[in-house]
């Protein structure tokens, strides 16, 4: 991909900027789709129609929403800490966007093919906590502060099981590189991590061989459980219902972004949606084969067109990611909000012991097999 852009535009700054901006284009388009999906799916689940006025079946509604937000007055509260207040939404979106750098959209496109990809992902997505507490503190509003405190408590708690699940996968594959993790799952659907990982030897990009056999089926229950735990932790980290106590409308107005309006609110909104896709994409990469086709073959190979393979791979990742975004929306419109104590119970007394236990067992099995 980079070489393609280089050949088209030459080796200059524009190429680099374009290369970096590709995920942004994707996030913007995806956000429009997700906003529409959110309103439409929630409406259908409640036997309503949702927006119907803007365009056929209301499909232009998200664009209208964007224009509405653009036109809105940008209010900074008089007593707010202006610098932090204005910086927070950008930091929030930045942290979400920076994480996209290591998401492999296809075998040909990954922003930064880091060896420490997963580690970077974990680190950079935690930056969101800083943005949230900045927003809550700088707003000079008790609801915002409460919301941000809850958000931080929640995200810090749920990062522990999430990190443990990542450790489980890293132990199995032996690499922190996301492309390696995806390569390990290449081939048909049964090679995906949720189904116990690869069933035959795989050669990683570094040249190392990941030896595997059908005995890996023994990992299936553990990886299945890890997937569920990671998804739950991901839901909590993106502050989505049922873990939306940081922005609990009924108690905290809107939590840490109570005081935000116009584009700054839109930035928080964008970062929430970007984070949703990020978590979904990571789930897809870790457990569902990333950009791998579930059939193990590509149309592009049959036609001898390598560019088509890349497009297909991107399509598969997008489909998997969007599916998990859909599940998030589905969960949101099904489950009620947890209490703070239930939230902490779930993280510290359920997810963390289970993830440690699974890590222990998987560690043993990896050594033995």
């Amino acid at each position: 991909m980079e070489s393609l852009l280089q050949s088209l535009l030459g080796d200059n700054l524009l190429t680099v900027v374009l290369y970096c901006a590709l995920p942004l284009v994707f996030i913007l388009l995806y956000a429009l789709l997700a906003i529409l999906g959110e309103v439409k799916i929630s409406a259908w689940m409640q036997d309503r129609l949702g927006p119907m006025r803007t365009g056929p079946w209301g499909i232009i509604q998200p664009i209208a929403d964007v224009f509405k937000l653009l036109q809105k007055e940008d209010i900074t509260p008089a007593k707010a800490d202006k610098v932090l207040f204005n910086l927070a939404p950008f930091l929030s979106f930045m942290s979400a966007y920076a994480a996209f750098a290591v998401i492999p959209f296809s075998s040909q496109y990954v922003g930064a093919d880091l060896n420490l990809g997963l580690f970077y992902l974990l680190a950079i997505s935690s930056l969101n906590v800083a943005a949230i507490i900045m927003a809550g503190w700088a707003s000079h509003n008790k609801y915002s502060l409460y919301g941000s405190m809850r958000a931080v408590a929640q995200i810090v708690s749920y990062e522990v099981p999430a990190a443990m699940v990542l450790v489980i996968i890293v132990m199995f594959v032996g690499s922190l590189n996301l492309q390696d993790i995806i390569t390990a799952q290449s081939g048909p659907i049964w090679n995906w991590m949720v189904f116990g990982g690869p069933k035959q030897d795989v050669v990683l990009a570094s040249g190392e061989v990941l030896s595997a056999s059908w005995a890996n089926l023994i990992f299936l229950p553990f990886f299945m459980a890890s997937f569920v735990m990671y998804y739950i932790a991901g839901l909590a980290e993106t502050n989505r219902t049922p873990f939306d106590i940081p922005e609990a409308e009924s108690e905290l107005v809107s939590g840490y972004h109570t005081e935000y309006s116009g584009m700054k609110f839109a930035m928080f909104f964008m970062s929430e949606y970007a984070n949703m896709f990020l978590v979904s994409a990571v789930v897809a990469v870790l457990f569902f084969g990333g950009w791998n086709s579930p059939f193990g073959v590509y149309l592009g190979d049959a036609f001898g067109a390598p560019w088509l393979v890349a497009v297909e791979q991107f399509g598969w990742l997008a489909i998997k990611g969007l599916f998990f975004v859909f599940v998030m929306i589905w969960v949101r419109w099904t489950l009620p909000r947890l209490r703070v104590d239930q939230l902490m119970y779930m993280s510290w007394k359920v997810l963390i012991p289970f993830s440690f236990g699974i890590a222990l067992v998987v560690g043993f099995l990896v050594v033995i097999l």
Binding site: I41, M45, Q46, D47, R48, L49, L335, K349
Partner: protein, 261 residues
């Protein structure tokens, strides 16, 4: 310990039950009615916007008297003898010009009490329920078919006719009084004591008889509806209702109008 695992099992299974329900509802037919495009069927005899068919209105004021919130204002002027107003579709003769017939629909409580007393059934509820206005003044519906100039002219005519009739009567009364006085004077002059008592008693009785028709001339200024024009008396039972509704809600109505002011 077993409670702990039971809790986890319950947590997962109940979440899945909920998700199955919402999934099934994805495919349930929606219940939304796209309002301005689609509308609910309105029930029969629903009470919404009032309408008055002025062709049939005889200006009897019954509807205004029945209204508990006094939101109907009717002014009438008696037609001159040479003016022919025609008949209503129910066969009543129209004798009054309705110079003003305003319904303040903003005050109306849609009780429908104005509808049954109407002798010609010309005030009724329509199924129209969308009549919001930006301006409160626009919620006063003016049904009178006369232009303001016409209305002023008719009122003036009626007043002139009334004044003339009164003048005539006054003149007649004066003449009679004079005649009586002359007669009395003449009788006083005569030395008969007994005859004087009877004519003196006659004179006030005659005066009372003279003033009685005066009340018929001005039906709208009458307090007691019983003394009103003929059309009302067409309908015996309705007439019974009228005074009843007249007295009690009047006090309430006064307070409502105050609030609105």
């Amino acid at each position: 310990m077993s409670g702990y695992f039971k809790d986890i099992y319950a947590g997962i299974s109940t979440a899945l039950v909920g998700m199955r329900i919402t999934w099934n509802h994805l495919f349930v037919k929606n219940v939304t009615i796209q309002y301005p495009d689609e509308k609910h069927d309105i029930p029969e005899r629903v009470r919404n916007r009032l309408y008055v068919n002025m062709d049939d209105c005889i200006g009897c004021d019954q509807c205004a008297k029945a209204c508990p919130v006094n939101c109907i204002t009717i002014e009438t002027a008696k037609a001159l003898p040479e003016e022919e107003l025609g008949e209503t579709s129910t066969g009543n003769r129209k004798r009054l010009w309705v110079t003003q017939f305003d319904i303040d629909i903003a005050k109306c409580c849609f009780c429908g009490l104005c509808v049954p007393p109407c002798p010609t059934e010309c005030i009724f509820m329509t199924p129209v329920f969308e009549f919001s206005e930006y301006n409160r003044e626009d919620l006063i519906y003016r049904f009178s078919t006369l232009t303001p100039e016409e209305a002023a002219e008719k009122t003036e005519n009626a007043e002139r006719a009334k004044a003339e009739a009164e003048a005539k009567k006054a003149a007649a009364a004066e003449a009679k009084k004079k005649a009586a006085a002359e007669k009395a004077a003449a009788e006083k002059a005569a030395p008969s004591e007994q005859a004087g008592g009877a004519p003196a008693a006659d004179a006030p009785a005659a005066a009372a008889k003279d003033t009685a028709p005066k009340q018929d001339d001005a039906p709208k200024q009458d307090d007691a509806p019983k003394q009103d024009d003929a059309p009302k008396q067409d309908d015996a039972p309705k007439q019974d209702d009228a005074p009843k509704q007249d007295d009690a809600p009047a006090a309430d109505a006064a307070s409502t109008t105050d609030n609105n002011g």
